[in-house]
Symmetry: C2
Amino acid sequence: MLQQRQQVLLNTTRKLLRKNAHIRLQHIVEHVHPADVAALMMFLSEDQQDIVFGLLGENARKAEVLSYLEDAITERLLDDFSVNDIAVILQEMDDDDAADLLANVDEEKAKQILRLMGREEREEIEDLLSYEDDTAGGIMTTDYIELKPEMTASEALVAVQREGEEPEMVFYLYVVDDDERLIGVVSLREVVQAPGETLIESLMTRDIKKVRTDTDQEEVASIIARYDLLAVPVVDAENVLSGIITVDDVIDVIRAEATEDILKQAGVSEELLDDYSVRRNVLSRLPWLLATWVGGIIVVSLIGQYEEALKKVLPLAAFIPIVLGMAGNLGSQSATIIVRGIALGKVDVNHLFATVAKEGMTGLVLGCFYGVLLGAVAFAQYSDIPRLGLVVGLALSSGMFIAALVGTLVPMLLHRIKVDPAIATGPFVTTFVDITGVVVYFHISMMLL
Amino acid sequence: MLQQRQQVLLNTTRKLLRKNAHIRLQHIVEHVHPADVAALMMFLSEDQQDIVFGLLGENARKAEVLSYLEDAITERLLDDFSVNDIAVILQEMDDDDAADLLANVDEEKAKQILRLMGREEREEIEDLLSYEDDTAGGIMTTDYIELKPEMTASEALVAVQREGEEPEMVFYLYVVDDDERLIGVVSLREVVQAPGETLIESLMTRDIKKVRTDTDQEEVASIIARYDLLAVPVVDAENVLSGIITVDDVIDVIRAEATEDILKQAGVSEELLDDYSVRRNVLSRLPWLLATWVGGIIVVSLIGQYEEALKKVLPLAAFIPIVLGMAGNLGSQSATIIVRGIALGKVDVNHLFATVAKEGMTGLVLGCFYGVLLGAVAFAQYSDIPRLGLVVGLALSSGMFIAALVGTLVPMLLHRIKVDPAIATGPFVTTFVDITGVVVYFHISMMLL
């Protein structure tokens, strides 16, 4: 439904752009949701993007679309804009979106833009810009409502009424003491439902799920997801309330992290999806393929060393790909299960032995099953070399067993030394499995043939 | 932080269980968040799970923990419970969680439990149970607040006050006409901020993002994520408001779908992470490995047919793994990029040719690069067979080019015929690439050597 609507919008836009029917196009882009305009932009050429963005009219509308737009497109669009134009648009944005946008503008220009803004707004944005991108500080907003514990419920409602439309999220109201330290949280619902004279102090929850400004964004996402929160407050080292992170920003984090893990599995970097040029594509994939290539070259020279064995029993060559392929596949499966399990907190990382034993057992069972199967095929096909079946069967079983162990151990050890285990699902495990697989294969064949 | 706390909780629990220190353990499980208890349960043995669950005390607490628990564990725990016990716990739950729980109880027992409940609650739950699991109806809740357009803001506030604590989400209030058809939505903030006599009709937004009861849950997640919503209303075919879906339920959907895609990439089924026994593990992975095995057998017999060529130039055998490995890797990369791109709406699925051309170009560039590199290595290593370098280089380049085309085309065509493109990242593309790779390799070698 969403995709169909998106496709209709895209086709209509392209048609109107071809006909130069800009007034009709303006009517459309002014009436669809800014998130839809932003999604549309991804499929347009640069010239078309400029036209559509120009048709958006009011700065408030431009600000909304920009807050949904991919960074790469934002960066390019704003390149043509003057410092003044950008400052005017920024004033229409929430401060977290404004900070994100400024992070995409070149530094000199960003400084000039900040100088054009009001003092309070400038300080807030500068503050937000000082945090690392992928921390709680980097994704939080400073638009929230603060209450004092000694306020009554009616006074709190007046405070909400005074705030106007600005805060993104007024479902939770945060209670701070005189030093701005976070001491409680109360929901707007609780305030509305309480008798007017009730003290906020007696309404608020003191047991607050909160994060620090330097908490990693993945951790923030896990906390919001686990405790089903709509927003989480962000405090500094002194427990002073610095901002809040709302669940919609966390959804983007969860999606981005999932995408990163998925692409890492194939050795592709994440930005690829946003800026999909052949050049970027090639450069992003070249280094990862190198791991496979280097592994492959080692395998070539290993097989070269067993040339004598091959010369004696040529059919050995035919079985190399299936032995390496099956082992590599099983190793990737193990690595994938462990990596995803760690990410979701479903693998007990402190019990290395139990997990490795389970995966190893699985590898052994699957290895024996397919080993017997392959042995039978080899025996039937090459009945003149009766022991060939034994060799390929044994090689497949041991290759798959080793692959399961390696695929489990590598991500668990990486996690333990605090390296992202997801790289284990890339070409490294399969390459390692290929090399050990060839050695095992020829050793078994030399012993038995 | 979350993981460390989790680990401390797990270690303490295990220690207290070993010492049979149940009173101290009870003190702990009564005071941590129910989501933490649910996460803890995953790492305990069945006997330990029974003990911890028994220590939870009040039914309200049990209900909370159950609403966070994995289905497999819930199912097992409730097996030992009487119909009455379950009915009592169910009364403490939100109706969507209650319906989910009943779906995990065997049918006969579920019927008996429903008979024990009040009429209104029973009808609501029966209604929820009638929807497919993975549709909007299957994940929605019926706890929401309805307003009428002719109410004033103060009357609306009174309605909210009357509701008590039950509705999960009162940030959005839904406006329905006399036939219960959804005509608008207004936020609690807007109601609080408006003068008391304002009509809801004039406050509400009529342009509502909504979904149908039969909308796929992935679609619901995409809509909530794209438009940054905290909840989305669910209507039936007549636009009658049937329920709402809150963003926290959607986060679970997004995580589950990402996990599914990640595991599918390695040919592993999703339930594996929840019920991790060797038996399940083997059975889940066996069929997928079969695809690789069958492909491998085809490759074995293909190589067998080229035995004459191999006999003449034995070093050809040494280069088979690297040619197939590199092509397979590149093919998986292409498939992964396209599959994830389609899932995130970042690939223009209607422009097959443009996408295939881009990926094909990338495959060609990478293929030529690594082809030349491999050719050089082969030439250096086997200077007595001067044309070997040309053969392996050409084979690698064409293999990688074909892999990029196949890896792009297969998911796009699957998407077009409405089959989940994610299966393309499994063993099928690599197997196909292996087979074509061998044929191309030996054809080139027979032409040139």
